[in-house]
Subunit: 258 residues, 2 copies
């Protein structure tokens, strides 16, 4: 790769690596696929991959690195997964430790990194289609069980957006073209229909009263596998911190259906 024509994704990752960009990845390098990161020991990697395969809507695996290899050779060959997210969350025996800005000192030869497609990827396409993505958005737990694999299980986590009926129709069409980033909504309408309790959002702050004329639209969310891995109480589990996703070199349109 010629440094004169460096990709925007790599430029942003360098800023993150150098500590000059520390906030959310939302809106950064908007035409590139963003991924949720899950890093866990080799001993649990098969079961975790099985879990993702059985729950693909929530857990679309885009790349799995070889054990011990922190470089995602297919999606970002110049990147380093130990330094290129702005913030990491670390869990030991299922207990959350302090967040970190890199995980160099935690890296081990038996760690396996999974890159899982993030819904942030279609924010740009939604914005361009006239569906605002910067507000009325929360991450919530449903009462729908996922399919288990080994120690991994738990309920489906969803992203909820409040949209006008017209936006809901447009957003359904746009996101259906991203089957490797959660795809079309899984539910529209009453949150209780999928057991969502608006009183307890996981991310996004308290749920405000719904403005008249809007409808709730729900997508399977990449927090699902993180939640499953936390609950499995692995000896070590590392993930990007919420909204601090890993930015790949893959143009989003290459994962889109025509």
């Amino acid at each position: 790769m010629n440094v004169d024509v460096i990709l925007e994704s790599e430029r942003v990752r360098r800023e993150i690596r150098a500590g000059r960009l520390t906030g959310t990845s939302r809106g950064l390098a908007p035409s590139f696929v963003q991924c949720n990161l899950a890093i866990l020991p080799r001993d649990h990697a098969f079961d975790f991959m099985l879990y993702c395969q059985r729950n693909q809507r929530a857990c679309p695996v885009l790349e799995v690195c070889d054990p011990g290899d922190p470089v995602p050779h297919r999606l970002a060959p110049m990147a380093d997964l130990r330094t290129d997210c702005a913030r990491y969350s670390v869990f030991v025996d299922g207990v959350r430790q302090g967040d970190r800005t890199d995980i160099k000192d935690l890296w081990r030869d038996d760690l396996v990194a999974f890159l899982i497609g993030s819904g942030i990827t279609f924010d740009d396409a939604l914005d361009r289609a006239g569906v605002q993505t910067d507000r009325h958005r929360w991450v919530l737990r449903t009462d729908r069980p996922t399919e288990r694999a080994g120690p991994f299980g738990g309920n489906l986590v969803v992203t909820m957006r409040w949209l006008t009926p017209e936006q809901a129709i447009i957003a359904t069409q746009v996101t259906a073209r991203f089957p490797f980033n959660h795809g079309a909504p899984i539910h529209i309408g009453d949150p209780a229909g999928i057991g969502v309790d608006l009183g307890h959002p996981m991310f996004g702050g308290p749920v405000s009263p719904m403005p008249e004329g809007l409808a709730a639209v729900f997508w399977a969310c990449g927090v699902t596998p993180q939640s499953a891995a936390e609950a499995a109480k692995l000896p070590l589990f590392i993930t990007h911190a919420a909204a601090h996703s890993f930015i790949t070199d893959l143009p989003a349109h290459k994962l889109m259906l025509p």
Copy 2:
């Protein structure tokens, strides 16, 4: 499931299980997804799944059973993978043994069964679109390396069809709607462009001279992961015999894009 409304897929599997159907699965239960079967020890299951993930065009994983479980609970909950293919091929240390009509006596608690989408699935859609699928079809090895994972590697295997230009265009559109069964062609035209040697087909018999006005069209083929598993010389590897695929209860249209 009420026995009065038994699915055609289950009816066919019962005939196979009873030994009354012993031939190819082509054309049987045509509206249901058919799968290539790969069974291998748990010790190699993660690497094999990684191999499939890295080569999804050839190896679209539709279900992975728990270790020791011969029932594909998602795709055919009444089936038994030890008896429901008409013919199995068995490899010990990479050496092919005699084919079998069941593998009950070979089953072990550590065996993991992978169901991988087969191109047979879109034969019915091609036939209905006016693209004949019962002739001018071969399985061939290319010189394109697949992406390695652990002991699994080797070159991409393709299915070649000879079609009229009009059929090639129709077939491209039809098969693009089956991204979980190899999807659109990977190449059209000169076999040498992907290093295919017409003198050595893997299946389909000798390649006949191409009738004037036809063009070669190539799809990634589910023989690829079988070929990789054979070459890895696993202590035990079991697959369906060529063209004797496993028939699932999943209607093909449910895996199709709109």
